[in-house]
Amino acid sequence: MDGVRSAEGLTEDRAIAADPGALTGAVGTLRSAHAAQRHLLRAIPGVRAATGGESPLERQPRDTELPHVIDAEGAEDATLRARPVTGPPVAAIRAFLDGTQRSEVIGWYGAVPLVYGTAGAVVRERVERRLVTWGRPSISHRIYAPLAYAPRAALEGALGAMVEDTTRPAPDGTIAPPHPTLLLERATLAVSRDRERLELALAEQWCASRGEPIMIDGGIGANEAVARSSCAVGVVKSHRTLYAEGDALSVVLGLARGERSSVIRVAPRGRSEVLSWYLRLRDTAGRDALWGLVRVEMSANVPTEITARADELSRWLLAESAPLAAPDPRWDRMAYGIRSAEEFLRATTG
């Protein structure tokens, strides 16, 4: 019975894979790591099952980029300074978008890891003060394999479009070496890319169809359409990269509750340019300098004057500081709507 269901599911997967939203709607096919593992073990000779019990790859320690600071071009003031956000908070955000991912090793082909990854994104719309799911959530289930070091034909034959090659050659034609840790990191990054694509595809759909303010967890520059849309507000909670140096950094870290920094222009590599500023959501008394600090991103095509728009969006975000997103450990920076989206995905994708 499992084989029959899997074969049907894979057919569905391939059809979906041919679609531009390749990762969307794969629910119902190999929807669990166990199902995928069983399928692989049957289909690919030489695959060893991972014994399980390991935590998702996202939770495993790994070497990451060191925190750093970058100077950014001012878009509002010549010198970055603190600006109080005037006026009362306004609950104007209509929806919240976030995505989640989960990766785990389900098998080994020799020393090569085969990773099952689930990525999902959802928009939670606020209707009469309660959050409901807008449209359908986007969820993908894929197997991330370094095909350069694994039986490509057998894997593609067994998994079709569901398999993602994590060893695609770089522009210069080089291929990642078969270091198991590196291969795991590349798989995790691939899942992250899929998640981001799902998120921004949903954001694009929202902006195109609804056009009302939507808070997106993270930056908005990865999708051109979203980055240009006036309805999208990106909120970055992590600060491994701080867009301020010298005195500007002191200003950012010294922001008081309800203050924002001057607007700057941010254009990371490979992303569209957006306008951004730092906003302190909560009092830092007794806390570290990054407590309650978020970086806000909005379209560079501001329909009104930059200062007025930055103040307006800041008021919207300050309004979202209640209710608390607790018990999430990032509750000082996380909007409740974003937590709701994460919880929804955690409940539906497992």
Binding site: P89, R129, R130, A319, A326, Y336, G337
Partner: protein, 648 residues
């Protein structure tokens, strides 16, 4: 297709079982404690999609907050800021339900994941297994009330086979005092029973003991009901009217003239009869009144001797000065006096193996009964009793003992129940089933305390009555303090609003905390029902009785004040002949002694003749001759001689 109300949910920590499951609903769903739901499974079992019926027993609500502290932090410690939060927290409504029935019944599996629906009227019938006794060809359903949920009213029926026997029987109702729930529920249920008692099961009557206040004194008078109540009567198919055939019985007051009842208003006396017993009736139940410490085996033997050999027989003995035929307490006293006098004259200390001290003791105790039960026990042997052998179908016989002394209450209860049992055993009562309603079971059948005759009688009804058609409807405030075998034998149990302390007793541990809380807050007109067919308790609403409440009755029909002898006699006789006047009564009873008047009155009441006035008058012996006394013969004055020298 109706939209689902919720979804079954189960976790490893809180799994579903064959008897219990959990489901969640939208926040605004019309679900509450006591709601009946249906679960439609998703996977067929043996080719059938399983359906499970359950009743909600517990509800939970919580948010995604891990600690209340986070909410405090989120509002900066100011509750007033809650209105400014643009988003309400995610909130869940989670319910526990106890399984009422699986369809199919086998294999009995844990409740499957599936959609949850509000039970329809048909679902309710299936869930409570009412479908087994509401068949057109064999309908034994007795409406008990309406189950209400989600705007739907569904009639709930008890099975007559399990309410009045023979499968199970008896009903017990518990609830706090003062809400009139217990009395109202019994009145309503009797009306429902009378309206729906299956013809093939025979006939049914009720004997109700009114043990406190005017509770049952106006069962034949209409109540004022609102439209909602009338609609419930219509929905349940019960006529919205008081009982048509009600008979009241009450002992006299100590004056043996006025009835000792709150239903003594002259307008209502037509169906009120005295309840008076003579020596014969009382002596059969002497042990009810006699203290065990006083009446030992020797005294008991003498009492038995009197019952067997003396009572209502021509009795002669060499010790006695004359033959005796003992029919009344007065006769008995004469018999004792003659016997003891004879023994004293002879200097004997024993008579027929009975010591004279025992004889004196028994005389004392028996003679005392007529004093202790004055008004009920007559010295002259006159009897006015329930219509043994002539009970009518769907009739209610109310025995008002509310104002009677405790001894009299016990005697009345013991004798009436015994007589009911005797007649039902002989099948000559007039009906095949009798419902006996007794309130204040805490008093009459307590869980602890000395063994009393009344408690033994109640136990006997509870344990064996259903085979005879003798059914006990009982009520009390504290079920936990009633003898376990009495309440335990009640097939059907009703619960009105309950006292918190009572609910804390072990007997209620089987109920969920939410159900107990609901019981503690039930409003008037709501009941929790347990019945053999229902695997879980069900909450129902019932209409106010169509009979006048006691407190309304005493306002509308005030109790008659104590009156002079002639007025009292007139009041009693007018029940038979309204044309009689006070002047006529005064003329008849004139100078007669009270004893003569009462004897005449009791005889008239007992025989209920067509011409009550003439009958009453005929009971008096003439104390003044109607014919003129013959004139004494007149002796003519002696004629003086003419030659009397001393004449003037």
């Amino acid at each position: 297709m109706t939209a689902p109300l919720g979804l079954v949910v189960a976790t490893e920590r809180a799994p579903n079982t064959p008897h219990q499951f959990q489901f969640w609903t939208a926040i605004d769903s019309p679900v509450g404690i006591g709601t009946i739901v249906r679960v439609d499974g998703r996977q067929p079992v043996d080719g059938h999609i399983p359906q499970v019926y359950g009743v909600v027993t517990e509800g939970f609500s919580y948010t995604d907050l891990a600690s209340p502290l986070f909410d405090v932090l989120g509002h900066d410690g100011d509750p007033g800021q809650s209105a400014f939060a643009p988003t309400e927290r995610a909130e869940v409504r989670l319910y526990s339900a106890a399984v009422l029935r699986h369809v199919p019944e086998e294999p009995l599996q844990p409740v499957p994941m599936g959609e949850v629906f509000l039970a329809t009227e048909m679902d309710v019938a299936i869930a409570l297994r009412m479908d087994s006794y509401l068949r057109e060809d064999a309908n034994t359903g007795i409406p008990i009330g309406l189950y209400r949920s989600g705007g739907m009213d569904s009639a709930i029926y008890l099975d007559a086979e399990f309410l009045v026997g023979p499968e199970a029987a008896h009903l017990n109702i518990t609830g706090v005092s003062g809400l009139a729930t217990k009395t109202s529920a019994v009145e309503w249920l009797l009306a429902s029973l009378f309206a729906h008692f299956p013809e093939k099961k025979g006939s049914v009557a009720a004997v109700c003991f009114n043990v406190k206040g005017p509770d049952l004194c106006f069962l034949d008078q209409p109540a004022e009901l609102d439209e909602e109540d009338r609609a419930m009567y219509d929905a349940l198919g019960v006529p919205c009217e008081p009982f048509r055939d009600v008979h009241y019985f009450a002992p006299f007051k100590a004056d043996n003239l006025s009835l000792n009842t709150l239903r003594s208003n002259e307008e209502l006396l037509a169906n009120v009869q005295p309840l008076t017993w003579g020596l014969t009736e009382v002596l059969q139940f002497a042990e009810v009144l006699l203290n065990r410490d006083d009446v030992d085996a020797k005294a008991d033997a003498l009492i038995d001797f009197i019952k067997e050999r003396v009572l209502d027989r021509d009795f002669e003995d060499r010790v006695l000065t004359k033959p005796h035929r003992v029919r009344s307490f007065a006769d008995l006293e004469g018999w004792f006096r003659d016997l003891l006098s004879g023994l004293e004259d002879r200097g004997d200390e024993h008579w027929r193996t009975h010591h004279v001290a025992t004889i004196r003791k028994v005389r004392n105790r028996l003679s005392n009964i007529s004093t202790r039960c004055a008004g009920l026990v007559t010295n002259d042997g006159h009897t006015s009793d329930l219509p043994w052998g002539h009970f009518a179908d769907r009739a209610v016989y109310v025995v008002d003992v509310a104002l009677a002394e405790e001894d009299a209450q016990d005697l009345i209860f013991a004798r009436i129940v015994s007589k009911l049992r005797e007649h039902l055993e002989r099948r000559d009562l007039g009906v095949t089933h009798v419902v006996v309603f007794v309130d204040e079971l805490n008093k009459y059948a307590p869980a602890d305390g000395p063994e009393t005759y009344v408690r033994k009688m109640l136990l006997d009804i509870a344990e064996r009555g259903r085979y005879l058609g003798l059914v006990l409807f009982s009520a009390q405030q504290f079920r936990s303090q009633v003898h376990r075998r009495v309440v335990g034998n009640a097939g059907t149990a009703l619960y009105g609003r309950m006292d918190g302390d009572e609910l804390a007793t072990p007997g209620y541990a089987v109920l969920s905390a939410a159900t107990r809380t609901k019981l503690a807050t039930l409003s008037k007109g709501q009941l929790m029902v347990r019945h053999p067919h229902f695997t879980q308790p069900i909450f129902v609403s019932f209409p106010r009785p169509a009979m006048m409440r006691g407190r309304d009755g005493v306002e509308r029909y005030p109790q008659a004040a104590d009156v002079p002898r002639d007025v009292g006699v007139l009041r009693q006789l007018r029940r038979f002949d309204p044309s009689l006047t006070l002047a006529w009564v005064q003329d008849v009873i004139g100078f007669y002694e009270d004893e003569d008047v009462l004897r005449a009155l009791h005889a008239t009441l007992a025989h209920a003749p067509d011409n009550a006035g003439a009958y009453f008058k005929a009971q008096f012996r003439k104390i003044v001759s109607a014919s003129p006394a013959p004139a004494p013969a007149r002796t003519p004055l002696r004629v003086l001689p003419d030659d009397d020298p001393y004449a003037i």
